[in-house]
Subunit: 95 residues, 2 copies
């Protein structure tokens, strides 16, 4: 794993609103949640949520799918699993 890639993912997840969004989506399971429901549950303004969602999407932590007018968001675990594994291996034991 590239240092910069790891840093980038950590910085995207390292924002309290984005971390809350991601955790909510993890809890929501494989179907995810509509944007509007995330917005309501976390009490964030629409444009603000949209901004954060796109940053999470940008590093592959979230995917979206549409059903009618409703856009669902689903947490993607693989990128975070890789980073957590990396940190565990490289940063959790002093050499």
């Amino acid at each position: 794993m590239e240092n910069d890639v790891v840093a980038k993912l950590l910085s995207e997840l390292g924002h309290s609103t984005r971390l809350s969004v991601f955790r909510l989506l993890v809890k929501a399971g494989p179907n995810g949640l509509p944007v509007g429901e995330v917005q309501q549950r976390l009490a964030i303004a629409g444009p603000t949520l949209s901004h954060h969602l796109h940053r999470l999407i940008g590093v592959g932590l979230v995917r979206q799918y549409r059903e009618g007018r409703t856009l669902y968001c689903v947490a993607q675990l693989d990128p975070l699993r890789e980073v957590v594994g990396f940190l565990d291996r490289e940063c959790c034991t002093l050499s």
Copy 2:
């Protein structure tokens, strides 16, 4: 663990220079490295490194001790271990 505490640590580690510094210190082991050596190895300007070191210190990821004129930096693993454990438990399996 508080959401905000986790987010804060992730954001501090989520910067490529700081991540490099931390990884270097992890590799350096329990004695750590002098600030000057970190600076040289990563080719960073003094004030810039000092800034980043203090941010790492601020979230408990680094500690320093002095020996004569030389200030050593040592990686502190516990906070990261906690966060990695948290992420592993809360964010690596869809409910």
